[in-house]
């Protein structure tokens, strides 16, 4: 009974903390503070995933939601500020709020109504709803892996993952075709602490990614988590100024970017020809096929996320060569 009480207190505190951080993140006037609060919010979200028995989601959130999104936002803010100092207009500072406008009053009335309605719907849901968990449990044997989340991601609903890899690629194509962002080369060398830490961390991160990929077959982990850890290693290397050479930025990078989606597409077409269903992996080979799909997906996800962080700065690399 006492552990129940402690659990309830922990969950209530976590919930309140999430709401408070989200409110401060969206309301505090300083954008830099807002981004830091958002990263803290992401870390608390990871804790919430653990409390909800979703360790796979927690790993993805900690690496992507808190880490990579935060890094992307910080770079964007720094570039906004450099635009602001170059031009005369204010890009990185918000205009002063001009009191509450009529639309805002309407919103303040309508939003609580929507929230109450949503809350009422949630509380009226039946307490027991097995969903698809029984279906997954019965077919888990045939999936080739024993972690149900990996089985869903790469076997039962493999087309989700295929489309998701294509969405990632499309986002990168969008960033590239917009010419990316204003290039700004760091002229000063990276601080010694960052440089040393990166040199120590990158091999560990690569090892962690490989471990997460392998362990994903039977425990929390998998291609997404491993890919984002790889991307984090790439971001660290970019931060200390280790830009890849222009020769590597052209064809080799593009090959890695399409490796994951291409492998997925090939397996999708082959399974459609042999098994008469898209991505229906034959049970006797499913384990090996999932490992192949996950390895290529991990490389592509890592490369795409790191390239998204690099953004349009690839153009400057071309000019340097």
């Amino acid at each position: 009974m006492e552990t129940m009480m402690v659990a309830w207190m922990l969950d209530s505190l976590l919930g309140l903390g999430l709401l408070w951080l989200a409110w401060r993140c969206l309301a505090c006037p300083n954008l830099f503070k807002a981004i830091v609060l958002f990263v803290a919010f992401g870390l608390l979200m990871a804790l919430a995933w653990v409390r909800l028995e979703a360790p796979d989601v927690a790993l993805a959130e900690a690496a992507i939601g808190a880490g990579l999104t935060g890094a992307l936002l910080m770079v964007a803010l720094a570039q906004l500020q450099s635009i602001e100092t170059n031009g005369d207009a204010a890009g990185a500072t918000e205009k002063e709020e001009r009191g509450i406008r009529p639309l805002q009053w309407l919103l303040l009335i309508v939003l609580p109504l929507i929230a109450t309605g949503l809350g009422y719907i949630i509380l009226s849901f039946p307490p027991d709803a097995p969903g698809l968990s029984t279906a997954v449990a019965t077919h888990l044997e045939a999936s080739g892996v024993s972690n149900p989340v990996t089985a869903v991601l790469l076997n039962f609903r493999g087309y989700d993952t295929l489309l998701e890899l294509i969405v990632l690629l499309l986002a990168l194509l969008g960033v590239w075709s917009l010419g990316g962002t204003v290039p700004q080369q760091a002229a000063t060398p990276a601080p010694l602490v960052l440089e040393t830490l990166t040199r120590l961390l990158v091999p560990v991160l690569i090892l962690t990614a490989a471990y997460l990929l392998w362990v994903g077959a039977h425990a929390p982990g998998g291609a997404f988590q491993a890919g984002s850890v790889l991307a984090a290693a790439g971001v660290l290397l970019l931060l200390i100024g280790r830009h890849p050479r222009a020769a590597l930025m052209a064809l080799p990078l593009r090959l890695i970017l399409v490796l994951g989606p291409a492998t997925f597409l090939v397996i999708a077409v082959v399974t459609m020809l042999i098994e008469d269903a898209l991505l229906k992996l034959p049970p006797e080979h499913a384990g090996k096929l999932i490992l192949l799909l996950e390895t290529t997906a991990m490389l592509s996800i890592g490369a795409t996320l790191a390239a998204l962080f690099l953004g349009g700065r690839r153009h400057t690399d071309k000019e340097h060569s």
Partner: protein
């Protein structure tokens, strides 16, 4: 009321906060943050409701969907940030114009 319901109610709060900030704030970086908070709220709702299986193990299908969603959210954020920077490089301002000002 169970822990799943508690987190589901928190997610409703997050969605409302995000929606409010998305509409009220003019600065685009703030709007991107607001969309991310809203997205986190929706992910939390999906995973919280996946808890109600009645057994010790939660439903893995929403978990898989949320992992996919997190990766899609970060790529959409990267694209949105690039669009914002492009806009502010051209107009010198990262805010949407206010109709009342014109």
């Amino acid at each position: 009321m169970s822990i799943a319901h508690l987190y589901a109610l928190v997610s409703v709060g997050l969605i409302s906060l995000g929606l409010y900030a998305l509409i009220v704030h003019a600065h685009l970086l703030r709007k991107i943050l607001a969309i991310n908070v809203m997205g986190s709220g929706i992910f939390l709702l999906l995973v919280a409701l996946a808890q109600r299986t009645g057994t010790a193990l939660p439903d893995p299908v929403p978990h898989a969907m949320v992992i996919t969603g997190i990766v899609v959210a970060v790529s959409a954020t990267a694209l949105a940030l690039t669009l914002m920077l492009k806009l502010s490089a051209q107009t010198g301002c990262a805010e949407l114009p206010d109709k009342e000002d014109e």
